[in-house]
Structures are given as structure tokens and as C-alpha cells.
Amino acid sequence: MITTTHWVLLGALVAGAVWTVLTARLLRSAVGLAITSAILAILMFQLASPLAAVFELSVCAGLISAIFVSTISMTHRVTAEDLAIRLKERLHWFWLLPLILLAAGAALISVHFVLDIRPPAPPAENDVRIVLWKIRHLDLLGQIAILLAGAFGVVALFKEWKDE
């Protein structure tokens, strides 16, 4: 059931996440996050969820990365001295992460976990369009409300800047 492709993708996903956390430069961190998102999208395709994968690739790997890169460019420029201080600070704490991940991975592998799951859904429920538009249409209302709240939030934030 689990193939070499899955192993490679899962390894790349974890490696991408670790690199995102460990790298000292924020821009590299944002690029690492985009790579992790892209690998996640491939995994979603592998798990028979193409629509969610397209969303993940376009919105998370694309839009959110662009937002992060823009924000980083708008906030500050890192000098060589700042980077040296930051590297020194990070060495204190972040070298622990690989050890924690190895320990957690070993502990989880040794656990034998039993799950009792429901039988597969009828074919109609596996069509995401039917689920979104017929069964869980209230989710769409929630999404629209959240999008409007986000838009109003951004407008309010930038209005405050303009007033100043």
C-alpha cells in the first residue's frame, strides 16, 4: 500500500519543515514553507484529493508565500552583524529540534496503534462538488463570512495607517 514515492515525499515534507524552522534567514524560511506546501500538494494528489491539492498549491504555496516575501521585504534588511547575532542565538536553542524529532519519531514507531473506522462512504459522497454544494453548503457561508471579516480587517488596519 505504501510505496517508495510516499516514503520519499514524506521524508521531503519533514525535511522541508525542519529546514524552514532551522534556517536563519527569514526569506529562506518563507521559501522552505513554499516548498513544504508544494510537497504537501503532491501528497494530496497521491491521496486522491486533487481539488484540495490545487487549492494548497495555488493558495498556500503561491499566495501565502508571496505575502510572506512581501512582508519580509517591507519590514527590515538584515545586516551581516545581525545575521551573526541571530545565528549565535539560534544555535543555543534550535540544535535540539533534530534530536526531539528523532526521539518523537522513534517513540511513535514503537507504539502499536489500533483504529476502528467507519466503512467507506457511498460514491455520491466522494464527489467534492456534491459535498460542498449540497451537503455542507453552510461551510460556504462560513467561508464567505470569514473572507469578508478578513477583508474588513485589512481595510480597518490600513485605514488606521492612512488616518495617522
Partner: protein, 106 residues
Amino acid sequence: MSSELAQFFWVFSIAIALVMIAGFYCLLLTYNLIRALIGLELLTKGMTLFIILAGYVTGHTGLAQAMAITLIVIEVVLMVVAVGVVLGIFRHNRSIDARLIRNIKG
């Protein structure tokens, strides 16, 4: 659940747990507000993959995709607003270091 499916689920779950630990560690230890948001993003990535995995294993891929899409929409709105707040903090303090933010009112 067949043993092959259980193994499949467990291997994916371990990888998801490791990604989430990395995100939580980042969130816990950093003082940089943008890096904290990146840690939060990693936590969300792990949860998105877990929803998709649960849908795949149980055969409810449609429902799982609908929930993952909802999660992605919430995630992007949260990030946009949070980045706006971070930029506002930077304008007031000329820094995005959480240790240097001492003038929050209220």
C-alpha cells in the same frame, strides 16, 4: 481496518506529527513575529494533511476535501490579517521582535 491500511495511516501520521512538532517548536522558541506565523503555518499544514489522510483511509475523500478547502480559506484569511497586524507593529516599533513590544495599550 486491514493491517496494510493501518500501516499506511500510521506512517503518514508519524510524518504529520513530526511536521507539527517542528511548527510548534518554531512557535514556542522564536521571538520574531513573522517566524511565529511560519510556525503556525507548519502546524496548519500538518492538520490539512491529517484531514486528507483521514478521508482517504475511511473512503470519505469528498468530505475531507471540503473540510481541507475550508481550512485553507481560514488559513489564508488568518495569515493576511496577521501579516497586517505584524506590519502595523513594525510601523509603530520599527521592530518585529516580540521582546521589544512594550507599548501595547489595554
